[in-house]
Every structure is written in C-alpha cells, then in structure tokens.
C-alpha cells in the first residue's frame, strides 16, 4: 500500500461551553491516500466540520481544544507545528473551500487582489507573475473574461461564480489535499451540478486528494471513492462508496440511506425513518452512541463503545457490536416514528 497522504489517528476535539464539555470529535482515525476522494457524511452535529477544522489547524483555544491525537500530513504531525509553519501549509499544500462563498471572500477587496495575495504568500513569484497565475486559475474554473473579472468585487458575482472563485483560489497553489466543507449546500441544484462537475474534472486532472464534507449522499455517490459515515463525534462506518451504498453494515447507515427520498424511485407510502433525534454531544451516554435509536441494541451496547472493525466486504469497517449478525432488512417501515418520546426533548 502507498504511504497515506493524510493520516488522522485517535483525534479528539472538545469545546468547553457553559453547559459542559462538547465532544465534537471523539476519537476518530482514518487515512487518505494521495489522489483519493473521500466523503465525510453525517447529520448536523456529527463532527464532520470540526474534523476539517482540526486538520486545518483552525481550532482556537481556549474555546476549543484538540485533546489527543495525531494528524500526519506526508508523515509530519500538523499538531506539533507552530502557527507560522501551519500558515505555509494552509492554503499551500492543504486548501479549503467553505460552504458560504460570500462570507469566505472579503467584500472590500477585488477578487484579483485576494487571489494574488494567496499566490504571492505561497509561491515564490512576483506580483505580475501572480496575476498571470490568477488569470489562469479563473480560466480553469471556467469563469468567462477572467482578465476583466480580476477587477470585480465579490458582490458582482453570483453564488455559483463565487464558489468558482473559491475553488480557483484553493487550487491556485496546486495543493495536494483539498478540503471541501459542504461546497454546494448553499447553491441551487443546477449550479451544484456545474460545480461538482468542475471539481471532479480539476481533481482528476491534477491528482488532488479531496476530503468532501457533506450531508448529501447523492453528491457523495457521484464524486467519492471512499466514504466515512459519522454519528455524534465518531465514525460508525467506513469503506468504498460501493460498500457503503450497496452493502451498509451499520444500522445508522442503513437508516440514513432508507430515509432519503429518491429521484429515481417512488417509495412505498412511508419513508423509512430513524426514530428519535441525535444525542447531544455534551452528556454522551456510555456505550454505543446510536443505541437509543437502534432497533438491534442489546445489553452490551449500553456498556461498551464499539470500535471500528472489519465487517461486510473486505476493507469495510463498522463500529457495531452486532455487525454481521443483524438482518438490517428486517428494519421495516413502521409508524413508531410518529411519536416523539417525552424524554427526547432537549432540555
């Protein structure tokens, strides 16, 4: 096997709040190979964005803190680097695209200024050369009249165009890893198709590894080679896209896929749904975090937190005590989701 580009080992990122300690990411490990496109999926609060922020070194103490873990990027532990060294990597070898392109761009500088700033910071070039690179970068993301658009301000671009600018900025320094945090969530579906198509093309051409964070399993299906499913701060299942979509082993993954309305099929009258709501990550119950919503939970699930282990296809890993023994198809659609239990209300 090739040396992983990125290797996250037992990462725990906690935030202290007045209500208690929020364990946003609680002991996750995964590897990313060069050129691999990996989807990180999960619902809000599952820890996907905090995972990205931790890798980028954007967790600011004292509010948040990486408690344990290692993040190895090409063998180097990012957590041991100082702020100066981290700044070289951020935007250079690792780039990030955010959900909302309007807030990610500075409204009082032209798009050209912001692009040139990034390029001069990370590459040994003059301003004139940087401008040439910037024009090329805008060209690559198919922005028409790149030369003139350099002098425009972010508000003069539409949402889709702004996200193209963000991608241009992210890729202008030829990073080895691109972290895209819900890059198309704020966009309309036809624009989303344009942007995902563009990202796929660019990542393919340049061999950039991508960590795509999203709640949309459809986007993952078209873009990613591998997928990890997160729930309440932990990874519950990981494998190739085919493993996850065609042979899910964790009841949560199965439920998530079943509860999606699909464009290509009309489901039976009711959608499969997972009863209850995700737990608050402040007072996590011992044992499996999915237990309160799981139809297969037994005694052991309340006591011991399951670790990822191989189940299903080769290389597929699942954090479930009962992986391989459950028949997930018996999770029939029922009406129990109609009722919200009294104790589920967040207090």
């Amino acid at each position: 096997m090739t040396e992983p580009l990125l290797s996250v080992d037992n990462l725990r990122t906690y935030f202290s709040t007045e209500e208690g300690i929020v364990r946003a990411v609680d002991g996750i490990s995964f590897d990313l190979a060069p050129g691999e496109r990996r989807g990180v999926v999960g619902e809000s609060g599952s820890g996907k964005s905090v995972t990205a922020m931790s890798i980028m070194g954007l967790i600011e103490p004292p509010a948040g803190e990486i408690v344990t873990g290692e993040i190895l990027f090409r063998g180097q532990n990012l957590l041991s680097l100082g702020e100066d060294e981290m700044q070289d990597i951020r935007g250079g070898q690792i780039a990030m695209i955010f959900q909302d392109p309007m807030t990610a761009l500075n409204p009082v500088y032209t798009v050209g200024d912001q692009l040139v700033e990034t390029i001069v910071l990370h590459q040994d070039v003059s301003k004139t050369e940087a401008r040439e690179i910037a024009i090329q970068a805008l060209d690559d993301v198919q922005i028409p009249n790149a030369k003139e658009k350099l002098f425009d301000y972010p508000h003069q671009f539409s949402g889709g165009m702004r996200q193209r600018v963000m991608i241009a900025m992210g890729l202008s320094c030829n990073p080895e890893l691109l972290i895209a945090d819900e890059p198309t969530t704020a966009l309309d579906v036809t624009t989303q198709a344009q942007i995902m198509d563009l990202m796929l093309q660019l990542a393919d051409d340049r061999g950039t590894a991508v960590l795509l964070i999203t709640h949309d399993l459809g986007v993952v299906a078209g873009f990613c080679d591998t997928v990890q499913v997160m729930y309440a701060g932990g990874i519950v299942e990981a494998g190739t896209a085919d493993d996850i979509f065609y042979n899910p082993q964790h009841p949560y993954t199965w439920g998530l896929l079943g509860s999606m309305a699909r464009l290509d099929a009309v489901q039976q009258d009711r959608l499969h749904s997972i009863a209850g709501t995700p737990p608050s990550v402040i007072d996590l119950p011992p044992g499996c975090r999915f237990r309160p919503r799981c139809a297969f939970a037994t005694d052991i699930c309340g006591r011991i937190l399951p670790q990822l282990r191989e189940a299903g296809n080769e290389g597929q890993t699942v954090a479930c005590h009962h992986a391989d023994e459950m028949d997930l198809k018996t999770l029939a659609v029922d009406s129990s989701d109609r009722i919200v239990k009294q104790d589920e209300v967040v207090s």
């Binding site: 619902e43 809000s44 539409s158 889709g160 165009m161 309309d188 579906v189 036809t190 624009t191 989303q192 198709a193 344009q194 995902m196 198509d197 709640h215 949309d216 399993l217 459809g218 986007v219 993952v220 299906a221 078209g222 896209a241 085919d242 979509f245 065609y246 439920g255 998530l256 896929l257 509860s259 999606m260 309305a261 699909r262 464009l263 290509d264 009309v266 489901q267 009258d269 009711r270 959608l271 499969h272 749904s273 997972i274 009863a275 709501t277 995700p278 009406s335 989701d337 109609r338 009722i339 919200v340 239990k341 009294q342 209300v345 967040v346 207090s347």
Partner: protein, 352 residues
C-alpha cells in the same frame, strides 16, 4: 388556440367540484425605487409573471424551482400575505362558497384564513421564543376568537398528540426542542383551526435527512386523517417526487411545466425540467457514474430584466434564434394533464 386554460373554462369563478383553488393570471411585482428623499419607481421585479393553475381537492401539488423562480412568492400571494399585482385566486371555502382571495375584503379574508394555513421553512424563526408551546399553538384560536381558555388548552393537547408530541410539552418553550420537533409545533399551529388547505413552504429543507423522513411521514398521515389539500413548495426534487400527486416547475416567474408526478419525472418535456432533473444527484454510485448531466450555461438572469420571448432561451440547449427569443411560448396541454410552455417540447428520459 383551443387548448388554453381560459377558453376551456369560460367563467373562471365557477369551480368544478374537484377543484379547491384556481389561480388565474396571477402577477406579483415588487417595485424597484431610486432616490433618497424623493423615491421614484424605476422598474419592477416580476417575481410571479402571469401564472395559472388549479389545485384539486385532497391532492398534493408540488411547486419546484430554483431560488428566485417565484415559488415562495406564489405561495404568499395565493394566501394574500402579499398583495397580488393582478390576477385572481378562487378558493372554495366551506363557509362562504367560492371566494376570490385576491380581491376579498378584510372580513371575508379573516374567515377564509381559518381554512387556509401555512407552515414555514425555518422552525427557528417562525416560533416566538418568548411564548410557550401552548400559547403558540393556541394563538390562531385566540385571534379567531374560538372557544374559551379551557377548550383551547384541550385542543392544544389534542394537537400535540396529533403531531406526535406529548401533551406535557405544552408548557415548554421553543428552544427546548430540536428542529424536527419545532417543525411539528409549527404544523400543530397550522392545524389548530381545522384548515382544509395548507401551504407548506419548504417545510423540511432546514432538517436533517433522518428527521426529514419523520416530518414527511407525519404530513402524509395528517393529509389522510383530515383530508387536507397541500401546496408543497420545495427545491428538493426527490422530496417533491415522494410527496406530490402533481408537480409544477417554475423558472423566472413563469410556470414551464405541470403534470402528474410520474409523467413529470418519467416523461418530462421542457428543456429546463430536463436540466433540473438531470442535475439532482441520486444516492447510488453506479447510476451516478452512468447518468448524463445536462449542464446549463451561466446563471439565472435577474427577474427585473427577464429575457424576451421564452425566459429560458438564454440558457436553453435547444433554443432557436428568431423563435424562442421573440415569441413567448404558450402554456399548452400536450398530453392529457401534461402542460408545457415550450416551442420545441420533447419527451426525454433524464432521471435514470
């Protein structure tokens, strides 16, 4: 032409038995004004531009389109939360017979509003954080002067049970609930006056997938239980396919296609519908890698200055010069119950 809406229905205020609402040539413009002290109107955004459609008793009509297409404005104008610029909205009221909502006076409107309700997208913004759940749900009854304090409280408890919450939740505040639970509270409030017609404006868009499914199932159950008619507005075409009986597609203030659900998804005819459907990702890697996307060029034009002729011609892959940029296509019934506004309609399989 003989197959336009107006000529088939001679008198638009006469609603056939199975029709609960008819929207006729509805227009909603928002003025654009300039100047600090002396405001002068310099133009108008045509958010909804002459659309006509009917809603059948007991059905769910899905209204889809991308941001800025006018779907939410349509919903609000139909309820007269916004004043229509022109057009009529005929509604079959249980109390008052057929009423034109667009021109009704305050008293009539007040009566009708018991029968038409709306659920909003954002369950965080649509519930007053200082009111208890009980007073939120009872508010429509208070406003419409229904029952006394005790009977209202009984109804609140009953409604909480109907939407799957527990009567003990009545004295809590919205912040104690999660997004999905709040949306249930919004639905309970909408049901308080026993409406017959509900506008659902992106009711699940702010929710996580597993919670979306719960709320969609609940809406399904309620429709069956109370015989409700839904106008369901959403941008998520997968959700709309699941819940709707018929689906209408809007683009830049115009309705471009309207058909039975299966006809629209299996045999779409308008090039915009083709592009829209082909862009929606399907959670299945094999299908996704095989599907062909119809990628549209550029962005949606601004509605203050819509393109001439067919509004979609600037981005349309099949537009023909001299025709599409000049003549506005009529909204025609090309197959039974399948309406399309296009000069060159073509049935195309784009979903799988």
């Amino acid at each position: 032409m003989s197959d336009t809406v107006e000529e088939v229905q001679v008198d638009p205020s006469q609603l056939p038995d199975d029709i609960i609402m008819r929207v006729n040539h509805l227009v909603k413009e928002f003025p654009i004004s300039k100047g600090v002290f002396f405001k002068k109107q310099v133009g108008a955004v045509q958010a909804v531009s002459d659309i006509s459609f009917e809603i059948r008793e007991g059905e769910t009509l899905g209204l889809v389109g991308e941001s800025g297409c006018g779907k939410s404005t349509t919903a609000r104008t139909v309820l007269r939360l916004l004043e229509p610029t022109a057009g009529d909205v005929y509604f079959r009221s249980k109390e008052r017979g057929v009423v034109n909502v667009a021109t009704a006076d305050r008293r009539v409107l007040n009566d009708i509003r018991e029968e038409i309700q709306i659920v909003f997208q954002d369950p965080y913004a649509s519930l007053n954080p200082r009111m208890t759940v009980a007073s939120i749900i009872a508010e429509p009854m208070t406003v419409h002067d229904e029952g006394n304090k005790q009977s209202r409280l009984d109804r609140v408890k009953e409604l909480l049970k109907v939407v799957g919450l527990s009567p003990e939740h009545a004295n809590r505040y919205p912040h104690e609930f999660s997004g999905g639970q709040r949306q249930r509270i919004g639905i309970a409030r909408a049901l308080a006056l026993r409406p017959t017609f509900m506008v659902l404006d992106e009711p699940v868009s702010a929710l996580d997938v597993s919670i979306q499914a719960q709320v969609l199932n609940l809406l399904d159950d309620l429709q069956e239980e109370f015989g409700l008619t839904y106008l369901f507005i959403a941008h998520d075409l997968s959700v709309v396919r699941h819940i709707s009986d018929r689906v209408a597609v809007m683009y830049l203030g115009k309705m471009v296609e309207l058909a039975d659900r299966d006809a629209l998804y299996d045999r779409p005819m308008h090039p915009y519908t083709h592009a829209l459907l082909s862009a929606v990702p399907i959670p299945d890697p094999t299908i996704e890698h095989q599907r062909e996307r119809i990628l549209l060029e550029g962005d949606i034009p601004h509605p203050s200055n819509p393109p001439s002729g067919c509004r979609f011609h600037t981005r349309c892959p099949v537009a023909q010069e001299g025709k599409c940029d000049v003549d506005e296509p009529e909204f025609r019934e090309l197959e039974p119950d399948h309406w399309v506004a296009c000069h060159f309609p073509e049935i195309k399989q784009v979903v799988v």
